[in-house]
Symmetry: C2
């Protein structure tokens, strides 16, 4: 043969969703509509048709989804994911001679041309299909005979156009000329929480109601009703393991610890154990399991921190010296960024010849805590461990436990963060923490939701972390705390807070650093959990609004609206069924009242350019009668820096 | 093994140039700088290094090109193509432990830290390399010994930083941990004319100086000095074959021809022959070959038209009836777009069971004319023939004759035009013909030069064709003809004109159609070739400017400048060596004088923001002293609608 498939005239290209040419699966969650799309076309003017096929990986049978033409050779099929797990899909297309003929005969008939020869051609098409499809041969041959028998060609045209004939011809297409796109792509469907989650971070050791006592898991259990009432569904702890005693850091990250300084939980391991042990003052493994269960009763999941690094006194150093880098002076190489030294932390050497055992051991840490009941992990600094390890480990874990969620704590360069998400991380920390202006926010959201990233990088927006106190929170105080959490909670379906300091508006920086003074990483805190705060109250409202409005449960349904004032950002969020339509308006200026005219994409909302409708503010209360595209907003940051408007059509509203 | 290459820590992604994931080669021309690029990074903070490898397809040896870091994990190597033909390239990268160590020891030494242990580590690195590289073992071991012997650690640091050691360590990297990108991509390097050509189209039958006589190849030969003087280097003819007599079209595309009507040259074939025959009134094959030779003496190549379609009396219809679609009434299916009929044209059926013989015969047409001396083909309506055929045919032809250039005449949908270029067409007609406003021009150029298209779609800009008289030429008259050819000749390194009507400013439309009245496709014209026209004079100047300015010999070096007036477009073109810098300013308003301030990207030009320089107008004459970014322009379309400024630095100018 001159060329394989020389008679296959249809071209399929730009199939999506795909990630890095199919090297990695795209991501979706249960009940999400996955749009399978491609550019599909043929030479000439013939009609074409296309189908997507989808199955869960491992199944033999494919389900066929007819694709429909959208615009400019772009075709799509919508697949609503129902089952968790890896899915595969492929795309096929073919020249649809029957439709070509049908449309031609109709046009010629309408133009008054003689279509008798055309009807003979149609009969041939039907007979040819009959010869190849025994099951439908009788019907097809009967139709063919009818086409030839009609005395009024108009009746032939009517038969040609009938849906029955079209359906049979569609399903019994000519298999010889079907173009099959050569690559099968993958979509991993995850549980809903991978796409919609609300995180609260606290240090269990600071959970004690008694100033003089180390907090325990049991103390945390008592906080569960409060956290649930605020609307959080993931409660994340820094590492809970024994803390290194060698080179322990003191308060404010000082190089020497004073007696009684608890050390950083990220300096993992001491004579009492390592990554599979629990710091005794927090409680026992049984206490921890009980806490996991109690949290479950409040629909809260406990997220554990996994930091693959060791304090110098971690048992691994003696048990597996080959996993570390040894220096000629007989010491283990600590972490460093010359000339800076991090002597309380020993990194693993991922180039060790014993890498396979290292990988297995690191995976066994995750397995251990899965056995204890954990399904959500926040991975510390994944960008300092080999990418290949993550890809292998996450795939292995998720094949066995598809509910497990890994959040990548990588605040690093874009390509690195992208790769970690491709390698399997289900959620990722982001640059949101430093994106403050309208331009920055719109550009970043466009990157996250309008590029290939939308298929694999699931952002989790954090206004703060124990490591990061961004300047806007320092300078903007309570107003900034409220404004930033409104943005996080409405821009991203996954968001989280380093909770107590945020609720209580603590924002004193450590000198010129963008870090908290008297950082909880290095000391035990005492919080007045019962204290009412305006920030906490608004967080509670926000989380309720998120639960009640499906539009806020996806990150990828955002559409920015033009505003006449750069201090005001406005975006529209609409759920998949377009039942829930929100207009969010945020004043980014934490000092001054700002006003703007916003120009809304009313077409998306199903509203006419001069049509009146109601917007009901779910956050600050109040409702307004708006008309068409352009409407006026004004926000005083000392009252409420944002509107979260629900759109209510007047007919609905008047009922 | 848990995972293939588990120790390979470097990630390579987004390798370019690639076309459709490597399915098609990228395109380049001889002497072009091909930028091989990729995103390359590792976990952690180690230094990395990368190399591209390139070879002509079929060679065994690869040439290694070290890649350099540019920005944000983006690395590149520049390959200057010297040889025609298909090339292959691949990308590799590795963690560079020696450089990591070298930088660390330098920083620690500079910070006053004790580096004696570091120097021992360096000695180990050198010894390890020595053990793996016999050829360099002596030198490496000697350096290792030196590192340990120095009493002043500063001397060790100096040795560590020496270029000699770095070079040896670079070339003797640790092979075990090299990441090799799994795909080898291709770049086809073509002769320079594929990237820089100037086309003139004429109908040979209208070349006669005698009104009463059919033009011949010999008449065309007499026009060669004129065409060469105007600066054209490709002379393109519509089909030169016998013209069908059955269903021949008359003047102005009328359905019936009068006696003496010559018919459309695209209705190919009659009893005298088909695609391998010459219309007898044009001359003999010998005349044609002589014309090709004479053209060559003027550095002009003859481009032939290949239209794979047949008049009803083409010999193929009887010889190969299986290549056509037969209707039940015993007639051959003619071309149609129901209810429109094109009864003078029979298309081939590319789904014929005899497709392999059809393909071979169609290729033999090209081979036949290559034998006659033709190396440039303009392919008529390629989008109505199977894509697979083009991919096969062009590849086969170019493997044997890498100088052959195929221009795709497809004015159709974007995805279809893109695919034809991917399938192998070396040049393509474009939408330029209808892109008139500043916004349209900038957007289209950005699409052509700033997306993946830049790697495979080589535009050829035509302000008119025998099929297309765009409204701007009708309404804008001579001014528009001048403005549009300036744009074509300076925006695109390949451009062409349907010559005589353009030079002579003929622009009467056929009723409301965007077509020429009394179209030369259906009748023989007589042109007063000796007549001077301002349009012709400016075309001549433009073509000389193109030859003398390398910046105009690439399409992909364009940078638009901001202008304060939407009627004025301004773009900067700089050649690869930055020796030739042009600023082109065009008044798009053909009726009124327009003025603007243009804001130039002076950084690209190596000019300071307040630095004076000269701009010399190569088109209209005159020179101006400009300063820095923002300068004033004013253009009267009745005088000259454009400046083509050459930038002259003052030092140069004053010499």
């Amino acid at each position: 043969m001159l060329y394989p498939g020389g008679k296959k005239r249809v071209i399929i290209t730009n199939v999506s969703p795909k990630v890095e040419e199919g090297r990695f699966p795209a991501k979706a969650v249960v009940e999400q509509d996955v749009i399978i799309a491609a550019d599909i076309f043929s030479d000439g003017h013939d009609a074409i048709a296309a189908s997507a096929y989808i199955r869960t990986a491992g199944e033999r049978q494919w389900a066929e989804l007819p694709m429909r033409f959208v615009i400019n050779d772009y075709w799509q099929a919508v697949f609503r994911a129902t089952q968790k797990g890896m899915h595969e899909f492929r795309v096929t297309a073919w020249v649809d001679h029957y439709t070509t003929w049908k449309k031609g005969v109709k046009k010629k008939y309408d133009a008054g041309q003689d279509v008798r020869v055309e009807l003979q051609i149609g009969a041939e098409l039907l007979r040819d299909a009959a010869s190849k499809n025994k099951g439908e041969a009788d019907r097809l041959n009967a139709w063919a005979a009818q086409l030839l028998e009609f005395t009024d060609p108009g009746q032939g045209v009517l038969l040609a156009l009938s849906n029955d004939v079209a359906a049979v011809m569609y399903w019994h297409r000519d298999r010889d000329t079907i173009t099959e796109y050569p690559v099968t792509y993958r979509v991993e469907v995850e549980r809903k929480k991978a796409g919609f989650s609300t995180w609260y971070e606290l240090f269990p050791r600071s959970a004690s109601p008694d100033v003089s006592r180390h907090g325990t898991f049991r103390d945390v259990a008592k906080l569960l009703p409060r956290i649930a009432r605020m609307g959080f569904d993931v409660l994340y702890f820094p590492p809970i393991h024994p803390i290194g005693e060698v080179n322990r850091k003191g308060k404010n990250n000082s190089l020497t610890a004073n007696p009684g300084d608890p050390g950083s939980p990220w300096a993992i391991g001491n004579r009492l154990g390592g990554h599979k042990a629990i710091h005794p003052e927090l409680g026992s493994l049984a206490d921890f399991k009980e806490l996991i269960k109690a949290a479950g009763d409040h629909d809260i999941e406990i997220a554990m921190d996994i930091a693959y690094q060791c304090a110098p006194d971690h048992p691994y150093v003696k048990q597996h010296p080959q996993w570390f880098t040894w220096r000629p002076d007989g010491t283990v190489q600590y972490a460093e960024n010359p000339p800076k030294k991090y002597e309380d932390i020993l990194p693993f050497n991922f180039e060790t010849d014993d890498w396979e055992n290292l990988w297995k051991e690191l995976k066994s840490v995750v397995d251990y805590w899965i056995d204890a009941g954990i399904r959500v992990f926040r991975i510390d600094n994944p960008h300092t461990k080999a990418f290949a390890f993550w890809e292998w480990m996450i795939r292995e874990v998720r094949e066995q436990y598809p509910d497990v969620i890994f959040l990548a704590e990588a605040f690093t360069r874009p390509r690195v963060m992208e790769r970690l998400a491709k390698a399997g991380f289900n959620q990722s920390y982001t640059y949101f923490t430093w994106r403050n202006t309208k331009h920055e926010i719109e550009q970043y959201m466009t990157e996250l939701t309008g590029t290939e990233m939308r298929h694999y990088f699931r952002p989790n927006f954090w206004p703060n972390t124990p490591d990061i106190l961004p300047p806007i929170l320092t300078h903007g105080g309570e107003n900034a705390h409220i404004m930033r959490v409104v943005l996080a909670a409405t821009l991203s379906s996954n968001y989280g807070l380093y909770g107590p300091v945020y609720e209580f508006g603590i924002n004193t920086p450590h000198g010129a650093k963008e870090e908290y003074l008297d950082n909880e990483k290095y000391e035990i805190k005492h919080w007045e959990w019962d204290q009412y705060t305006r920030i906490g109250d608004i967080i509670t409202r926000l989380n309720r609004i998120r639960r009640e409005n499906a539009a806020l449960q996806s990150t990828w349904n955002i559409q920015f609206a033009q505003t006449s004032n750069d201090q005001i950002t406005c975006y529209v969020k609409i759920d998949a069924d377009a039942d829930n339509q929100l207009i969010i308006v945020v004043n980014l200026d934490v000092y001054h009242t700002q006003a703007a005219h916003v120009t809304l994409p009313v077409g998306m909302l199903g509203i006419g350019h001069h049509e009146p409708y109601m917007v009901v503010d779910l956050l600050g209360g109040g409702k307004y009668r708006w008309v068409g595209d352009i409407n006026y907003v004004e926000l005083n940051p000392y009252q409420m820096p944002a509107h979260i408007f629900k759109v209510v059509k007047l007919q609905q509203h008047e009922q």
